[in-house]
């Protein structure tokens, strides 16, 4: 079959205009599909940034919470109850809330403030500069050095600003695994300082972060928390809950799905149409090959090879183009939320396989129907 494959390859690539059209169609379809799904993956990833960055194994929350930024404060007794639950190694409160920072130049900037348990500092970020113990110093705050860092005028250690008329001093610069979704800088301080500096509701604990003694204890902990009327989720479950919220309750998921389908249909139309024209132009030649002595299955293999080769080449180019665009975009816009995951690549590959299958099906049908006798008759 090697000879026929080489023949098919030459027939395909030597028709430069058609080959280029096919590649352009599939490349852009893949580019758009991966771009859309990557943006979605990026949004989902960033929407769970708090959960990922703090790294707690169990998150306890009000059952109405569907994403990390819309927390509903928990009564203090829940923390006590969780701490006294069999199988809980430890449990700590977490404050999470929004605030306005008045910068040195007099301008205001919205921020997210995370208040960590005073005694354990559980969930503290890795420091780039400064000492974690300085968080206990008077007015001490740690600034996350991410894409939003510049919005605070890129503060250094010792920089001062105001939060709710309270003096704040930068005592550390930190890094986190995942940046936030909403484009606001993040500050870390202690739980008690957070509730002292910021206006609060009756209850102040956004989440309780718990560590089970063993993984086997998790179901029992969940059950106890449920009996209190609250919800305990593992880190993965909470991330999934947030993803489901953005997918199904915000319209983002549907919009991305529609755009991905449109990209797929555009790719399918362009490549299907071009491949059909390619086959049509060569149809009599395929008929001549049949007359000379080519078996139908050899012609089918040739067409399948052409469709597969074009699709996979377009797939590679599309992925490459998407990677390039995302890399360039992130270099220029650090906030750009796009993340190419294996799932994105798999979805795009699946769609490309469908494009190849449909295109070759059209071609194969045509070629199988042409009779060598038609060549004489024409």
């Amino acid at each position: 079959m090697k000879g026929e494959i080489r023949l098919a390859y030459k027939l395909l690539v030597n028709d430069r205009a058609k080959f280029a059209s096919l590649l352009v169609g599939i490349t852009f379809a893949v580019f758009l599909m991966v771009q859309m799904t990557s943006m979605f993956a990026g949004i989902l990833n960033r929407s769970s940034s708090t959960v990922i960055n703090l790294g707690a194994r169990i998150w306890i929350m009000d059952p109405a919470v569907n994403n990390s930024s819309s927390n509903i404060p928990l009564p203090d007794y829940v923390l006590d109850a969780v701490r006294s639950t069999e199988g809980v190694r430890y449990a700590v409160p977490l404050y999470s809330g929004g605030a306005l920072v008045r910068l040195g130049n007099g301008t205001y900037q919205a921020v997210t403030v995370m208040g960590l348990d005073d005694s354990s500092l559980f969930g503290r970020p890795a420091l780039l500069e400064g000492n974690i113990k300085d968080i206990y110093a008077e007015n001490g705050f740690i600034v996350v050095k991410d894409a939003e860092y510049a919005k605070l005028n890129s503060p250094a250690l010792g920089t001062e600003f105001e939060i709710n008329d309270n003096r704040a001093v930068v005592v550390g610069l930190a890094k986190v695994s995942v940046g936030g979704l909403f484009g606001v800088p993040t500050l870390y301080t202690t739980y008690n300082r957070a509730i002292q500096y910021l206006p609060t509701t009756r209850f102040t604990t956004a989440y309780i972060l718990a560590e089970p003694k063993t993984a086997a204890d998790i179901p029992a902990i969940k059950s106890v928390v449920a009996s209190l009327g609250y919800l305990a989720l593992t880190e993965d479950e909470f991330v999934q809950r947030i993803s489901d919220f953005y997918k199904y309750q915000t319209g983002v998921g549907i919009n991305i799905l529609v755009m991905t389908l449109v990209s797929f249909i555009v790719g399918l139309s362009i490549s299907g149409q071009t491949f059909y024209t390619f086959i049509l132009e060569n149809l009599e030649k395929f008929g001549a090959l049949k007359a000379i002595g080519a078996r139908s299955r050899e012609l089918v293999v040739m067409i399948l090879f052409q469709a597969t080769f074009t699709s996979l080449t377009g797939y590679g180019l599309g992925i490459g183009l998407c990677t390039l665009v995302i890399t360039l975009a992130k270099a220029r816009m650090p906030d750009y939320a796009a993340l190419i995951t294996f799932a994105n690549l798999g979805i795009a590959l699946g769609m490309v396989v469908i494009i190849a299958a449909v295109s070759s099906y059209i071609g194969v049908r045509k070629v199988l129907r042409i009779e060598p006798f038609d060549i004489f008759r024409s």
Binding site: K2, G3, E4, R6, L7, K10, L11, N14, D15, N282, E284, K285, G287, A288, L289, K290, A291, I292, G293, A294, R295, E298, E371, P372, F373, I375, F376, R377, S378
Partner: protein, 249 residues
């Protein structure tokens, strides 16, 4: 020009009998009221070393007959033996293989792939016979040299004149050294002189004692090159005429 001739194989007896033997071949097309009979009880024989023409007006059945004897169109009645083998008794893949081994085709419009080079076009039958690509190209180049187109080998066919394309088609038809050659209107796309030159080349260099060439043509200017001419009309064989070649050869 020995290279243009089929290699004499193990059995010289192979060329002793008829190259093609058609007996009572009939063919219908369509169904119901649209059913028409394209061939009516056609019988004839073609010998090795013979250049046989099938002529007749449009719709007389000559293309249908050509397709039936070359294993492309199954007749509804009758039998066709090529080199003593009843081709329509074979299975579909068997007929395809038999065509590949035994029959070479030169089509009216040549049907050369415009996206392949000339030498790659010539190599196609060898590639279908699973000959290694490099060897197929070497052998195709040899045949291009014989038909005088070696220097055009790496050009696409569209860069060649009609006569040159016809010679490429001939080289492709004979590159696998088939015993039977089928020419469909070989001069239809050529001017008078070029057509005659091509047919003269075929008669002088391609035919040989171990090959039979069957040609369908409308072109009376090339009748002089035939050994025999079968006249078709309304699907029937109306008569057989000896060509000028039969006197001269």
């Amino acid at each position: 020009m020995a290279a243009l001739q089929p290699q004499q194989e193990q059995s010289p007896d192979r060329y002793a009998g008829a190259a093609i033997l058609a007996r009572g071949v009939s063919k219908w097309f369509g169904s119901g009221e649209a059913r028409t009979q394209a061939l009516r009880e056609v019988s004839f024989e073609a010998a090795f070393g013979e250049m046989l023409y099938i002529v007749g007006p449009s719709g007389s059945g000559k293309t249908t007959l050509l397709s039936v004897i070359s294993g492309i169109l199954r007749p509804d009645q009758g039998s066709v033996a090529v080199e003593g083998q009843d081709i329509w008794a074979m299975k579909s893949d068997g007929i395809t293989d038999f065509r590949l081994r035994t029959i070479g085709f030169v089509f009216q419009d040549f049907h050369l792939f415009p996206r392949l080079t000339t030498v790659e076009n010539v190599a196609i039958p060898l590639i279908l016979k699973k000959v290694d690509w490099g060897e197929a190209i070497d052998r195709a180049m040899k045949y291009l040299r014989i038909v005088g187109l070696e220097r055009r080998a790496h050009l696409p066919p569209v860069k060649l004149s009609g006569g040159e394309q016809q010679r490429v088609a001939i080289a492709r038809a004979i590159v696998s050294q088939p015993d039977i050659l089928i020419f469909d209107e070989p001069t239809a796309s050529l001017d008078g002189d070029t057509g005659r030159n091509i047919v003269a080349f075929v008669r002088d260099e391609v035919l040989g004692p171990h090959r039979c060439i069957v040609t369908v043509t409308h072109d009376s200017r090339i009748y002089e090159y035939a050994h025999r001419i079968l006249h078709m009309e309304d699907g029937r064989l109306k008569g057989v005429e000896n060509g000028h070649q039969s006197d001269g050869n």
